[in-house]
Symmetry: C2
Subunit: 652 residues, 2 copies
Amino acid sequence: MKRGMGVRENVLRPCKHAVLAGGLLANRAEVVRSRMIPYQWQALNDLVPGVEPSHALANLRIAAGEQSGEFRGMVFQDSDVAKWLEAVAYSLAVHPDPELEARADAVIDLVARAQQPDGYLNSYYTIVEPQNRWTNLADNHELYCAGHFIEAAVAYYEATGKDRLLQVVCKLVDHIDSLFGPEEGKKRGYPGHEEIELALIKLYRVTGNKRHLRLAQFFVEERGKQPHYFAQEARARGLDKPTHWGKFAYAYSQAHLPIREQETPEGHAVRAMYFFTAVADLAQETGDAELFQVCDTLWQSTVQRHMYLTGGIGSQSYGEGFTTDYDLPASRAYAETCAAIGLFFWGHRMLQLNPDRKYADVMERALYNGILSGMSWEGDRFFYVNPLEVDPAVCASRQDHEHVKPTRQGWFTCACCPPNLARLLASVHHYLYSQSRDGLYVHFFAESTVEFQVGKTRARLSQHTDYPWDGHVELKLAVEQPAQFSLYVRLPGWCKQADVQVNGEALSQQEIILSQGYLVLTREWQDGDEVELDFALPVEVVFAHPKVRDAAGRIALQRGPVVYCLEEVDNGPDLHALVLAAEPDFQVETDPKLPVPVIKARGYRLEAASDDLYSTAAPRKVPAVIKAVPYFSWDNRRPGAMQVWIRSELAP
Amino acid sequence: MKRGMGVRENVLRPCKHAVLAGGLLANRAEVVRSRMIPYQWQALNDLVPGVEPSHALANLRIAAGEQSGEFRGMVFQDSDVAKWLEAVAYSLAVHPDPELEARADAVIDLVARAQQPDGYLNSYYTIVEPQNRWTNLADNHELYCAGHFIEAAVAYYEATGKDRLLQVVCKLVDHIDSLFGPEEGKKRGYPGHEEIELALIKLYRVTGNKRHLRLAQFFVEERGKQPHYFAQEARARGLDKPTHWGKFAYAYSQAHLPIREQETPEGHAVRAMYFFTAVADLAQETGDAELFQVCDTLWQSTVQRHMYLTGGIGSQSYGEGFTTDYDLPASRAYAETCAAIGLFFWGHRMLQLNPDRKYADVMERALYNGILSGMSWEGDRFFYVNPLEVDPAVCASRQDHEHVKPTRQGWFTCACCPPNLARLLASVHHYLYSQSRDGLYVHFFAESTVEFQVGKTRARLSQHTDYPWDGHVELKLAVEQPAQFSLYVRLPGWCKQADVQVNGEALSQQEIILSQGYLVLTREWQDGDEVELDFALPVEVVFAHPKVRDAAGRIALQRGPVVYCLEEVDNGPDLHALVLAAEPDFQVETDPKLPVPVIKARGYRLEAASDDLYSTAAPRKVPAVIKAVPYFSWDNRRPGAMQVWIRSELAP
């Protein structure tokens, strides 16, 4: 986007109606539908043995006066229900299921009954301290939960046409709008955990109600201003600062400065991502080029200083947040699944505003690595924290690894990640394509179809590929009548050689026109026209910036967008004693026990000359075959050590 | 020591009367005398501006009823006073100072007045909860403080002949002995923090009172037995476990098993070291070969699985303790100064029982690295934690580095380390030589003299050297009359080539007789005989065992016993981006700004090909001179990054 240009006119519109037809993403979406959504329903109903009970639905029943008992769980327990509803909505949109829909309708009815007459909706406060509503925005999550209910309502309305939940949240938003805002007599508050901002913009896009947009705008712009609202509300409770006050102070929740003065991602990574997503949304809706520039500066800082190779962000458990530049420890990573999802959301907003592959490259990195790693193949075990190196003995004995679970868990006390995975993967088809004013953008590669509009002509694109395992992609066009438009196809940033054919004829170098990393194919397209792309897909050796301490002297293996890792089950323990050879002779193989391609390479295992801890004798190098598997697929066989950054003779 | 042999007959006796005459150790001892002891006196009296007040002497005055006010500081604040007294005693023994002695006498008088009529001595309990004496051995430190008073009393008695404090502690021990022991009606308790065990054996060696030995033996042997004393005393206080209960449970204080069943160092490192020191002492006093074997097994595990290159031990802040095998992270090390001192004490006991250089090698490693690093050149700034890698920005932003101070501190809330350094370095001459039945052992090298006994003949050895900076050592003998005896001279484990001359004639290979790493020179020695040793002292490249994750792909530089490190002040930031060349062409140089030899070497600095965090383009290697300084001398110029384990083309 050019500086000073109005933002709104040129934005892309995501093709949410695309249909996934096969391949890895379709498989993951199907596992969400068939396994995760039912499993999470069991979890929300406390029916999964051996895992932390959720009590989330019970809380709503108690709030509705239909069950006795106490509130249990986190203050934001409601949001797990909302995210489940949102995932169900996306699933119903592509896979009708009357039984599931009836179940969701019943949950929505329950939510409606838990809503208070004035519109208030939050089971924690309703049950536990109704007199204290809206007195602690910094620490608690009333606005956050409202945001998730709003997102669910919009998704459910769009999927089913039913507006019961939409009416509930509109009433809730009316209530919130009556309390918060710049007007005299209203509180100038905003949430400790951002979420409602982006949700209100989604709501505005459905309702067209400007008050919804203005409230989002207020929450975004008010944040971090002086005198500090979080200090004021704390004082009103007799404290001098928020209850959960840590060394990062207001930066923990990105409230250290007004958004227009922020240049680096600070604090809690998920909060930051949801916030920046909303800021990008606001830039789009208001055409505010400065806000977009703020976002872009934050984006560059995030992806050039604070992002793991897997797209994970947030490198420490304390505050679940960002640290200093280039501080990306592998085994103590936080890299919360939700944070990678948040980065994906933010990147998607940026991409619509400014179709530069740099955003899509990061989204793809996050999706195929730090997001998909959050779930097991079967869809019933989850990582909250996604480290790049694990040694179970270290996790067991070191307190600074307490947050790192060496194997996926059935559920969590703070269960934000599993339903976040479900809602993203159930809607992953939303992200593949965008409609532009002059044609179609193909951002991501997956067996799929999409319909789009070219002027008054309807067109349809079918994509055939086994990406990310194969670099061959076929795009077939069906048009009602020949039509002049542009097809923008992303040439992924990881790809060093892409061959392109149109109707069987290779494009010459002159014919390859690139716009911000997108191949631009502008012509009068005929029905049946075909574009074939061949992305060379070798195993690549990746180096980190030399300022990244924890990757110093190491390399990682990546093939296409997929980062690989070593597992103990394949390579034995002490993965740090393995060294990739200077001529690794990579072989990509199928493995009968794994549904993903594996990499084999030449290397060495270092063996000690003696039992001495320290010696002037170098360890001996014993030839070894090194086997790597896609990072996201680790821990699907048996628990053990894992490592992404590998020692190598190739590392300088 | 041979299995089954009585231990006591063959033990060496440390030559505590040796006199340091110059060189590094004498310099450090002199700094202790001239700077640290006065500085610590100021600290104990709360007269150092800008540092944590100690209040330790005030506590004793309040306990003595001579001052009003409240107890302040740790429950073991008394021990800082005791360790200061002990250091003063060692200093007075070699450097009479009537003013200092009068000051110490006055403190001893105060301690005597703070003692209760029944012999009880502990300012915390006397002031704060006198009714709860001896009810919480697991968490509090009554026996630990008693131990330090005992050590101080023995040292002061030996240094000055004055027995006032000795009488105080004998009365205290009588009181303790009346309460604890295996006899009916006594508590079967033992300290949460070991210390009194080794102190009681020191006391026994002065008093000859068998009850002192038996009480030590009881505390050692009772530890970890079932039913567990710590559980019983907790129950008596209405709890089911000790107040400070962590994930390591009883292992935190080595009370998970009886000592004879322990095989690995567990829990709090300083506690473990003091305990194992006492166990070795007990093996010596009782001739119990099994106890010695237990110690030796624990020693091997400690030094082969759990020791930093610097002799630091305890690799995590949580519990200040040991973790899993080979888990030795450089930047998150705990490596408490006190723990390295404890390892030194333990090694010294083992060495007297079994004169094998393996113990002395570890003592020397600890002394010249992880112990001396605890103090600044000037003696008024201290490290409690001694990491092997520091990045100030990481320390500031990462909670898992909260314990790591990137620069030495003036004092501490828990101020155990500075006085521990003072008492060790004020007595470092105790450790240089041992008398054996058949001659003299030379364990360590320093400009010094020692008198010893050979049968009925008195002999004197003068050692001339600038060790550890120079490998030339001259040993000159003065004997009243020619005498047949053996001189045992340690050939350090780090040394690959030692030339030996006796009276100017080189020893042939046949004449070099080694016993457990000690050169054995047995002959009829004449007055004026001279032994010259030349230890080759090149810069050595050291590799860690390949199981040590944090040293993988790295090397360290060592010259003689001295480990080197890189500092930002010499090399710029991002020390992990420096790579030592395969042909480093080491130069040892003097530096006008540093009182220690520095190493210069050929290497490279890696520079990024772009701002991208990740790239398939390897970083560029730009030639750079790498400058290393002795680890113990770091942070004496200006704060900045530091690194021991260096990336190198030499690392396989």
